[in-house]
């Protein structure tokens, strides 16, 4: 570990090469939420009238709503007047001055995950004034994407430069009144990503890698909108395997995907937000609404998620299968260790004829972890010949954790086929003894067995992400055996 501060010092002392754009005025607005707060946010972001109206509509709806209580998670009530709803990207001077000041546990984790040194500093929130190579990388990527007509930018930029697209699609998959957290997000969302793939274009690269750093300042109410036009395809990677330090406890993001005729969107997430300490103190609440709409025939939307972080996860990436022969997929690995709680699953809403959906959910509980799979498969009256296959497996480590499965199945068309398989198992002493007898440490053995359990999901992840996800699982399970 000795070499790290030295190297870091080298990094910090580098010439200040690229400007850090801090054009935004005043830092924060006072705590609390009112119509004025919403107007202020919209004004600061210089938004067009339609968006302000949209936010206000969301706010008014939100006032009449109550937080959902049906999920099997427990947390004290959130005081929504005690949150700061707008703050300009923070001056980096507030963070720790060097990696020496960062929690050594966090550093150990970075090392185990093999996070490059310069990324470690950024992730830990160290005040590094140097801007690394990612800026030039970003420019190269953007040029390449622009060549084929792809728009990939922050949500704020999209509002300024492509308001017509934003207006056309925003809120069409997740309406403002959809649920309590989505309404809140719609009223006060800070920033996020915007992707538009023009007709017939296959995005030439995974929208990923360096973006994990750039996405850092999007704040707690993130808004993402991805549109794949007719015959277009895109693979989008969200998140980061490294645990991120974050001052905001509540995260309520909304992600909307729109796939038109013959379009394909693959959305992969690795979520590793701070889960809190071993007693569950200080972890992130991740209350997310993610939904995709297969609007045209033969559209295809695939969600793959690996959820290992957050103190509480409330998340159901869903697909509305409107177009004939459209396909929805949900592949999920969710891990809860220590005092983590997760209520997660998916909804597959079959409307079009011959629509197909696949759900593979792998839940792993360790320590005092609480986990629920909650999934809805709905076959509408119009869904002639639709098919769903659901497989839902839980793996328990130790005897103090919990796993629950809540499948909801509604079938209104008697030509539809719905299959549901579920299993709950435990890592057996026999498996553990066998692996150790072959020379593997107890932790490596558990990690190997758990990774085997998750294999069907990991194989859906883009290659590089899959390797990171495997390592992540190992690290997240540390201390759960012996």
């Amino acid at each position: 570990m000795n070499s790290i501060p030295n190297t870091l010092e080298d990094l910090i002392s580098q010439e200040y090469r690229h400007g850090f754009e801090t054009a935004i005025e005043a830092d924060e607005i006072p705590k609390g939420l009112s119509e004025d707060t919403v107007r202020l946010i919209s004004a600061r972001k210089n938004e067009p009238e339609f968006l302000l109206e949209w936010r206000l509509e969301a706010y008014r709806r939100w006032l009449k709503m109550t937080p959902p209580t049906w999920a099997s998670v427990h947390y004290p009530p959130i005081d929504y007047q005690d949150i700061i709803y707008y703050s300009a990207p923070k001056s980096q001077k507030d963070g720790p001055k060097s990696l020496d000041e960062v929690d050594p546990e966090l550093l150990k984790t970075y090392e185990k995950l093999g996070i490059p040194l310069h990324e470690r500093a950024i992730l830990a929130g160290v005040a590094v004034d140097a801007v690394f190579d990612s800026v030039s990388v970003a420019t190269t990527f953007k040029d390449k994407l622009a060549e084929v007509g792809i728009i990939f930018c922050s949500f704020s930029e999209a509002v300024q430069h492509h308001p017509e697209l934003v207006k056309q699609y925003l809120g069409t998959v997740v309406p403002v009144q959809d649920n309590f957290y989505a309404a809140l997000n719609s009223a006060v969302f800070s920033d996020g990503s915007f992707v538009y793939i023009p007709p017939g274009v296959r995005c030439p690269m995974e929208l990923s890698t360096y973006f994990r750093i750039n996405a850092k300042n999007t704040g707690q109410f993130e808004r993402t909108l991805i549109i794949a036009d007719r015959g277009a395809s895109v693979s989008y990677l969200e998140g980061c395997t490294a645990p991120m330090r974050d001052e905001n406890q509540l995260h309520a993001a909304v992600v909307e995907l729109v796939a038109l005729e013959d379009a394909k969107i693959k959305y992969s997430t690795v979520q590793n937000w701070y889960p809190g300490d071993k007693e569950g103190r200080g972890g992130i609440y991740n209350f997310v609404t993610k939904r995709g709409d297969c609007r045209g025939a033969r559209a295809h939307i695939s969600w793959t998620q690996v959820e290992t972080g957050s103190a509480i996860t409330w998340k159901y990436p869903s697909v509305i299968l409107r177009g004939e022969d459209s396909v929805g997929e949900f592949y999920s690995v969710a891990l809860t260790n220590h005092r983590q709680q997760a209520d997660t699953g998916t909804k597959m809403i079959h409307i079009g004829r011959n629509t197909r959906s696949t759900i593979v959910s792998k839940g792993i509980s360790a320590g005092f972890g609480q986990q629920a799979y909650r999934g809805l498969v709905r076959m509408a009256r119009s869904a002639t010949g639709a098919r769903n296959h659901t497989q839902c497996d839980s793996l328990l480590l130790g005897d103090r954790c919990q796993a629950h499965t809540f499948p909801y199945i509604e079938v209104r068309n008697n030509t539809a086929t719905v299959e549901h398989e579920a299993s709950t198992s435990r890592i057996s002493e026999d498996q553990l003894f066998f692996c150790r007898q072959r020379g593997l440490s107890a932790e490596d053995s558990v990690s190997m067995i758990v990774n085997g359990f998750c294999k069907e999901v990991f194989k859906e992840l883009p290659m590089e992400f899959a390797v990171e996800a495997q390592k992540l699982l190992g690290v997240s399970l540390e201390g759960s055996v012996g």
Binding site: S428, E429, D430, Q431, F433, F434, C435, R436, Q437, R438, G439, L440, S441, A442, D444, M448, I449, N451, G452, F453, C454, K455, E456
Partner: protein, 255 residues
């Protein structure tokens, strides 16, 4: 290589091993025979470090070390291998992946460089030929959907890849047809060498037709009742285990 002195162990409250004495030298093959419930499998498990049996007395010295003080994986890395009577299935974990991780964990412990994928594959394919195994088994999940015979072959494949110093084979012959038994024995025999020792735990004499032991011990009621050469196995085959109890407790006879 291995010296067991007055070893006692219980499973739950029930004493199973009641004072085992046994010396195994490098290059030797020992067969431990006995009726069901005599403590054969418990002995294998105690040597490998499985926690379901509790050692209540005695000592085991392996290559000068206190074997009982070592963790399961430390014993393995020091060269103790157990071929399981009931090999477990590990869904989703490729056979090849487990083997490579195991071999490299052991090599690392011994200060050897880890093998990369190419070198490892070359090695393991070579060993698979010896075991007359189809290469496709490498890419299947560990023991998942394997027949009884395939599982046992897979155990011996792991053994010939890991090349242990002390191999303990727990009822490896059970559930094998005669062809599989020949292949498995061939694999085991290929490992016989002056610096390696083996303990064959078996109920039947049949295995010993293919793997010739240097010594045969009869375990009954938690003690070694008799020891001798290969001829003892034949005698057992003829007489059955019934007479063992009558042989009286002569104390352990070490060769």
């Amino acid at each position: 290589m291995l010296s067991i002195r007055n070893l006692q162990a219980s499973v739950g409250d029930k004493p199973i091993l009641k004072g085992i004495n046994l010396d195994v030298k490098a290059g030797e093959v020992h067969a431990i025979m006995g009726p069901n419930g005599s403590g054969k499998s418990t002995l294998s498990n105690v040597l490998a470090g499985r926690e379901n049996a509790t050692v209540t007395g005695g000592s085991v010295t392996y290559q000068g070390k206190d074997l009982l003080a070592l963790a399961v994986e430390e014993r393995a890395r020091e060269g103790v291998f157990l071929a399981f009577q009931y090999p477990v299935e590990i869904p989703g974990v490729g056979n090849v992946y487990l083997l490579k991780a195991a071999l490299n964990a052991q090599r690392k412990h011994r200060g050897l460089p880890e093998l990369d994928a190419m070198d490892f594959l070359a090695l393991v394919k070579d060993k698979m030929k010896l075991m007359e195994m189809n290469e496709s088994m490498l890419y299947r999940a560990v023991n998942e959907g394997f027949s009884g015979g395939e599982k046992k072959r897979n155990e011996i494949l792991q053994m010939v890849v890991l090349e242990p110093c002390l191999a303990i084979l727990d009822e490896t012959d059970s559930g094998l047809d005669i062809d599989a038994l020949k292949v498995v024995s061939h694999g085991v025999n290929s490992l016989r060498s002056p610096d390696r020792a083996m303990i064959l735990v078996t109920h039947y004499q049949r295995l010993l037709d293919y793997i010739k032991p240097d010594f045969v011990h009869v375990l009954s009621d938690g003690r070694i009742q008799r020891s001798g050469g290969p001829e003892l196995a034949l005698e057992l085959e003829r007489e059955g285990y019934a007479w063992v109890g009558d042989a009286g407790n002569e104390g352990a006879v070490t060769p």
